[in-house]
Amino acid sequence: MIEVSGLTKTFSGSPVVNDLSFQIDMGEIVGFLGPNGAGKTTTLRILTGYLPPTTGQVLIAGFDVTKYPTEVRRRIGYLPERIPLYEEMKVRGYLRFVAEMKGVERRRRSDEVERVTRWSGASEVSDRLIKRLSHGFRQRVGLAQAMIGDPDVILLDEPTSGLDPEQAAGFRDRIQSLRGNKTVLLSTHVLSEASQICDRVMIMNRGKLVVVDTPANLDRNFGGSSIVSITVKEGSESELLAGLRALSGVGSVEEIKSSGGERTYRIMCDSGIDPRSGIVRAISVSGAELMELRRESLSLEEIFLELTSDRKDRGED
């Protein structure tokens, strides 16, 4: 339904989207993740035809966005990141306007507006001025607007950002209810949200796709990794570090705290390996006394941070 190949977008010389290729099938819900400035919004804008690609091709339902913009626009519903609404209009009037813009026949217009308003949970504010709406309701109106005309492809740019947990959950339920009927691409910063509602997750960093996989696979490939934190007292520090690093399956060892003679270390461990007994042995060999040992498996959020961690040396954002 969405086919992107070799998509690149440069703004004044620097690539913001860099040689992106992916495919999304009919009925799929795909999450688009990445840190600030990764290029998610830019990619979505290109998919809508609002921005032209520098190079590369985007097909929506088989139509090239640059050659058949109108055909593409008939088939997409778009919720921008910061929804620009007409502040002076009432919700119902605004949605009617959108229905007219999207070419909904006159006799079906009221029903269509009614349908999307109810679906998005904006019924109770139908007669209110948009400028008086809370963020949550603005977002619902934005979602309603995207759904008008029953488009096949729904593009949502950070639909749940700024929503309280309950409203965000409501949004996720609505989006999930589209599975199978609509092709949905949504961007978010929250990996757990994406893994909860999406069939596939695309992680983007600095304009490039880092990983495209199902949430289950992501969890299997990275989720087995664990972190062991230990707190020790006395003993030889250098001997302990050497002993720990020599263990198989140990990635990195970092000292994260040192106070009152107690030192705390964070040990990254590869997936599928439980090095706890080895760690305990290394501690006793170094002559240190073990005060505490804790093992946590890496959360999806931490995987996400790991995968996109090179953003640290960018100095911006």
Partner: protein
Amino acid sequence: MNRVWAIAKRELADYFHSPVAYAVAVVFLILGGYFFYNFVSFYHLLSLQPAASRPPGEYLTIAEGVLRPLFENLAFLSMLIIPFLTMRLIAEEKRRRSHELLMTYPVSDAELIGGKFLASALFYVALLILSTAYPILLAGMTEVDPGPLLAGYLGLILTGASFLAIGLLVSCTTESPIAAAVGTFGALLLVWTIGWSTSVAGPRWTPLFESLSFLHRFGRFAEGIVDLGDVVFFVAATFALTVCSIMIISARKWRG
């Protein structure tokens, strides 16, 4: 066509939500009425004098003494208010970023520009209709020949349309409605007064400047003369300027 009308309706609603539109209407109608009152009083004063004491060559008709100066002043007032009617048309969509969403609806650039133009034209025509109160008042006092009256209003509509098209074009080039208003005002002043350059440019260029001068061409309508060339000029200018707006919008889309 549906979409053109939908865009125009939304834009008209915006006019009525903004104090600027009311201010514009009040200024236009009150100043128009003030000018009208002055011309009528002056005409009344002149007509009371015996024919011999009037300035030589001056023969007095309602069309000459009241309608013509009234139309000339309404055209001048139009020049003052039209920048405020057109400044927001496109610039405001860009400023509030609503064009990002608008551009993802299946609406063509021509429909967008057409709807915006239609909205401003309807508002302007509504002002003109309200201004007919003055000639109607006049008709209550004395006999008014409908010919020059219709010619004058035709001239106002045609000149106003080309003014609106200029304002719309300027509004396409910026994100700031205020900048659009200032730019439009400058452009209107230029096309209105370009005829004045004839004295500087020399007699060879006079026909060129006169043919470009909106003032010169409108002057004939105000006198009650409908010249096909003038009609074609204003219609063509409006059309060409609107096409330019459409082209700017399509080009801008490719910049982000």
